[in-house]
């Protein structure tokens, strides 16, 4: 069987495992491309014609799928619980991007995340995986792949309780908003050396977990730029590292609506000159406000409201860095003279 045929078989396995008569009627009504994909039985040229002209599936000149992004308006799947879904998906060895958001949740709630994700995360060319909004549950187990190559992982709006990210050596961003993650937050996520974005707001069942200091240590998430763990019922003191940024390059710190206590790091606003967003509102922070900056600041938002902090409001004392220079070009662009207009064409 040729590689392109294996790709077709993998996609059709989705239908074999998760299709039903109702969904067939739904697809027919929508005039969905997925009817053609699931029922495809033709030549390589016909397959290439089908999959190279669509937004929801793209393939190379020889019919290898590299982009799989069914629109939730065009495809819904109802999969049985407790069975791996289309293990043949592991044959999609050329795929770089899989976006299956909102595909599973309507017809098959509470699928185990491993049943959907296991055959996808091992794909060695996959860089972006979006399984958000699918009502997936459970704990993502450690991948069987030694080195998962995914850079961007979207799992927002599910019911996940934990993730073992061992092996996700390439991960640059992970989105976990609105799940059911249980505490404590794992120290060993600090192995994610390439992680730039960690967004997991609104995970209220992290209750009483604290922010792992290991993440912010010198050998922690040294590439991290964006951290959002707002509305997670987190507690404890803010690790020194959040303020003592060291090698961290944080641009955005959002830890609002938690139960953090103790002082805010005094150098919170000064340690990183690229800092754009600081939102620590609605915690129980005490002690003096962090000091402002006397160098230029890129800050767009500083929200420290609704805490118990004392002292003076932070002061910023370097006006000229932030006032954009008035555009005053020595070579003004000459205005068009009416006579230079081209004559109308007839």
């Amino acid at each position: 069987m040729a590689p392109w045929q294996k790709d077709v078989r993998a996609l059709q396995a989705l239908w074999r495992d998760c299709g039903n008569t109702y969904i067939q009627m739904f697809l027919a009504m929508k005039g969905s491309i997925w009817t053609d994909v699931f029922l495809f039985d033709g030549t390589q040229a016909e397959w290439t014609a089908l999959c190279s002209g669509a937004a929801e599936i793209r393939c190379t000149a020889d019919g290898r799928v590299w982009h799989l992004a069914p629109n939730a308006d065009d495809l819904q799947l109802g999969c049985p619980k407790g069975l791996p879904i289309a293990p043949e998906l592991e044959d999609l060895t050329e795929v770089t991007e899989v976006a299956m958001s909102g595909i599973f949740g309507s017809w098959s709630r509470n699928l185990d995340v491993n049943d959907v994700a296991a055959s996808l995360v091992t794909l060695q060319k996959l860089r972006r995986l979006d399984l958000s909004d699918n009502a997936l549950v459970g704990e993502l187990h450690r991948s069987t792949a030694a080195a998962v190559q995914i850079k961007s992982l979207f799992l927002d709006d599910n019911g996940l309780t934990a993730l073992d990210l061992g092996g996700f050596v390439a991960l640059e961003e992970i989105h976990l908003a609105d799940n059911q993650l249980r505490g404590p937050l794992p120290d060993d996520w600090s192995i994610l050396k390439n992680l730039k974005i960690l967004e997991a707001p609104r995970n209220p069942k992290l209750a009483a977990s604290s922010l792992p200091a290991a993440w912010f240590a010198a050998d922690g998430m040294t590439a991290l730029e964006t951290l959002d763990l707002s509305q997670c019922s987190l507690t404890g003191e803010l690790p020194n590292g959040v303020g003592n940024l060291g090698d961290l390059k944080l641009k955005s710190i959002k830890l609002a609506d938690n139960d953090f206590h103790g002082p805010a790091p005094p150098n919170l606003l000064t340690a990183e000159e690229d800092l754009e967003h600081v939102d620590l509102h609605n915690n129980n922070l005490t002690g003096p406000m962090p000091v402002g900056s006397s160098a230029g600041t890129a800050l767009k938002e500083m929200n420290l409201a609704d805490n118990k902090m004392t002292g003076s409001p932070p002061m910023f004392t370097n006006a000229q860095v932030r006032v954009p220079p008035v555009a005053n070009s020595p070579h003004p662009i000459p205005k068009c003279h009416p006579n230079t207009q081209l004559p109308p064409k007839y």
């Binding site: 500083m302 409201a305 118990k308 902090m309």
Partner: protein
């Protein structure tokens, strides 16, 4: 830039904020700040300023009316005293809360020059009405007549009682 340190236990005076001229939202409300609110004419991007519920005693300078983008200003529930600034609002002002303070003087006639004003709250507390110190806090009806968008006007019922008493 949004600058929000509201609802803490900050004390002392409000520092000079002119180092951050890009601030659009300045929220210092619900703290224990005292002294004067500095002249903020240096901050030309301001859209909203809220300093309510502190212990401020004055507004420094006459900058409010000239702030080029300011739409909302709230300094109610402080201890502001003396005469209100002569220029309280400008071309874009929409809400102005100055009530529950200890003003000793009138709402300026220039209030009529704020065509977009929707809310004017100058509520006078009972105590200052009773001791007569809030006398003359009403601008002329000619000034009010120009506020065509005004939907909320709060001057406290008491003040009318006081004015009635003056007439007797």
């Amino acid at each position: 830039m949004t600058y929000d340190v509201s609802d803490n236990a900050l004390d002392g005076e409000v520092p000079d904020m002119c180092g951050s001229p890009g601030i659009t939202y300045l929220f210092l409300h619900k703290n224990k700040l005292t002294g004067a609110l500095p002249n903020l004419s240096c901050m030309t991007s301001l859209y909203e300023v809220d300093v309510h519920k502190n212990g401020l005693t004055s507004l420094e300078g006459d900058w409010l009316g000239g702030s080029p983008k300011l739409q909302h200003f709230n300094a109610e529930r402080n201890q502001l005293t003396g005469a209100p600034p002569t220029s309280l609002c400008g071309a874009y002002s929409r809400t102005l809360y100055l009530g529950h303070n200890a003003w000793r003087g009138s709402i300026p006639e220039s209030i009529g020059d704020c065509p977009e004003l929707e809310v004017l709250d100058f509520t006078v507390d009972e105590a200052s009405v009773d001791d007569g110190s809030a006398a003359g806090t009403m601008p002329s009806s000619a000034a009010f007549a120009k506020l065509t968008k005004l939907t909320t006007l709060a001057l406290s019922v008491s003040i009318f009682l006081f004015l009635l008493r003056q007439l007797e």
